[in-house]
Amino acid sequence: MKRRNLGLLLLGGLLSSSVWADMPLNLTKGVTEVSRDVYDLHMLVLYICTAIGVVVFGAMFWSMVFHRKSKGFKPSTFHESTKVEILWTAIPVVILIGMAVPATYTLIDMENNDDADLTVQITGSQWKWHYKYFDQDVEFYSVLSTPRDQYENQNGTSAEKGENYLLEVDRPLVIPTNKKVRFVITSDDVIHAWWVPAFAVKQDANPGFINEAWTKVDKPGTYRGQCAELCGKDHGFMPIVVEVKSEADYAIWLDEQKQMKANAAAAEAASLNASVSMDELMQLGETTYTAYCAACHQVSGQGLPPAFPALKGSAVATTGPASEHINIVYNGKAGTGMQGYGKQLSLKEIAAVVTYERNAWGNNTGDAVQAADVKAAAGGAIESMTDTVKQAAAEVKDEVTQAITQEVAKVIPEEDLSKVYSQDELMTMGEKVYMSACVACHQASGEGMAPVFPALKDSPIAKGDMAVHIDMVLNGSKKNPAMAAFGGQLTKTQIAAVVTYERNAWGNNTGDLVQPADVAASAK
């Protein structure tokens, strides 16, 4: 009696003690209709499995206890029964159908991404998340905010771990309650997965592809999740925090963000004229370096070669020109893990971090880089076409050129320059030529891709002097190297047709008809 009481006490103690209360044992119910459906489904399957387990294991334990040799039990000889086999094939099928029906309904619900009130683009990269609100002009990165000394304990030291250790970020995603929020999810590098258990949303972020998911949360609060797909070294260090606010609070937050953005832009402009002291640069540089660079290049600047090279004593951070250093930080390095930080950091922060890297760990170059230097070194990329863009454009041009030359050689062996075409003929042929030779840059809509590839719709060239237009297509642009000369690639008939098309499509409606003879005249 006494022992039994003690046992009960122990059991009760175990169940009620705070130790167990801290340990969640089951799936979260979550805070959305879908997550509750998912939880119910989970419990349904769990109960069914438990019941089957009790029956099957019960039968096995029954035989182990009662049908044992040591008790002198004589074995039966039965070893076949088609009836029984059919029975225990059919019953599970029925049970499975019972499980599949609610699962199907829940799944159809989960995959219905239509009619969203708000869309947020989520982009994963090594090892942070980027959130961009559609139609709101708000976007930001979200990075782990747990201090490194809390988790880097290899040398035996350890700062006390905070309550939300490894589940806290500098800027959480904020969404309103009771609104259908659609997430479009993608990645900049490897595959990540965006997972918030309380929403029952887990969706892979695939580089080059876009996935969709949605949620509608009915309870304000802070919800935490983690990246769920192995994405490299710091896969365990890219948490997700979502703050769900009431609609009114969300509106306030949104205004704040826009204000912050305006302030940041002002600060950015101001920083261009400011000259920051070396001390301040080094201080800001160290903070920025620890937050953004130390994961790979290490606090010691020694990196993790060969994947993540050392900065200490490296050519880039010492003897090399500061402009090249800035360029790598700003634009990243293609084909490596080095991201471009132009979008993630302010000009001042980049200036500070470059200064820090060029002076810390005995690099001692003495270089103090200012925001204006950053703008000058990388700024070409911001304002106008840089060499890389020009080169890319030229490459595209060359490819198009080659493809067209081949196409032309195949289709039109010889042409009759004296032939006069009708508008319909010219327009049909022109559209075809345009769609193969011009569309890559100027787009099917004629709206181009400013600033490198200008619009043709309502453009002064396509609506202005016909001779200039023909000359542009024949001989290319003298100002913009991206515009190729098509005289050697297209026949005169084709150029006539495409010019006609450009002058009359997309509402340009000049009514001009260009004939092969006009092109031939211009070419001479």
Binding site: M23, L27, V34, S63, M64, G236
Partner: protein, 534 residues
Amino acid sequence: MTTDAINDQPEHDSHDGEHHDHKMTGLKRWLYTTNHKDIGSMYLWFSFIMFLTGGVMALVIRAELFQPGLQIIEPDFFNQMTTVHGLIMVFGAIMPAFTGLANWMLPMMVGAPDMALPRLNNWSFWILPFAFAILLSSFFMESGAPNFGWTFYAPLSTTYSNGSTAFFVFAVHIMGISSIMGAINIVVTIMNMRAPGMTYMKMPLFVWTFFITAYLLIAVMPVLAGTVTMVLTDTYFGTSFFDAAGGGDPVMFQHIFWFFGHPEVYIMILPAFGIVSTTIPAFSRKKLFGYSSMVYATASIAFLSFIVWAHHMFTTGMPLFGELFFMYCTMLIAVPTGVKVFNWAATMWRGSISFETPMLFSIAFVILFTIGGFSGLMLAMTPVDFQYHDTYFVVAHFHYVLVTGALFSIFAGAYYWLPKWTGYMYNDTLSKWHFWCSLISVNLLFFPMHFLGLAGMPRRIPDYALQFADFNKWVSIGGFAFGLSQLIFLVLVIKCVKGGEKAPAKPWDGAEGLEWTVPSPAPYHTFETPPKID
């Protein structure tokens, strides 16, 4: 083992020449052997060494996860540990152990003198150590071993991989070649070398499961070879199979990988079904219940394994129709698997059960594998899989299936046939210690992982939030206990090889099959004239 002289080759007759076994001496015997028993032993020893190697890596992982914070290793090395642990356990421990059992037992069970292609057999074993030497050598490279998970998802394994990817690719190629040759050997042996009168439906279920498994291997190993080759060319030769920027698709990698990967998990469990279908009737002293339904169930599982691969990929953004199709097909697998479990329970029902160590491992197999099956059924449900996917719930699931499933069945088989292999009975007390220590520690190791996963702990992370700390501590303790328990088995096997109580030809009164008609230890050559089956 002692070496024996060859009487008709005088340069070798140094030792006790009592047997007329035609084998060489020393290292040459093992290097040149074409004997299925020698090759079987080598496979089994090799797999045990690999099991310990992969086990040490698991212990490094568990040591790091013992408490929150990064205490021992760097995250990148942690990823190398999880990756190589997985690769070694799958390709180095479980699969070669089954091939070893097949080599030892299949010819004896079908009444054949040896495997059909003995030289191929020698080669398929001897390339394996080189494959794993290549893989393990990458630890000594500057960049370290592969760190992208044993599933090597692109582009983490291509554009973003470290310098050892080529080593990984060629190691997997060699493992694949070895598996394919082993599988061809099994198929040819079973089809052509059965004793007269042994029709297909008279073959022991053990033979059936290996027959079907061998076909699965032949079907999917080339797919794996294709996958790693594409990873190789994407990494080093500028192709873009899995790179969207070049017109490829990273999700296509997963489709191709899991088209291999899902049948692969059945490659690792169907032979286990065969083993326990041998041991449970033996120690229940009653014929296997529903032999033919067991054969059909095995074949159905093998077929279904080809049309469920995308259930590993529910969160990749599949269309709704795809998700439904793969969910229904996956749930369907529960039916033939259930039939098997019910048949084992029915075999035990009203038998005359005794609890020798092979039976203990077999019963533990049935119960714990079924728990792994239950969590598999839960994972099959797409909506809930969104919550389970890539968490410790999945880790718990596949370890229940592969450790308490495949590995426990291998232990059951090893204890069952050890007397036949060595000629001595194993130390019963040690074997009981091995069983009970393994059983308790393995559950302490893997059961709390279910809770960790449900509470939201992702897999493959070197550090975790504080609410996961208590369970991780228990899991780590269980891990070390389980690892140490396996040393008991090592001691037991060495003792059993060296000597002990002499084993009779048939040490288990309920055992059936041709292997028990030959003396223990089984002579170097058995069934040189085929037995007659009626």
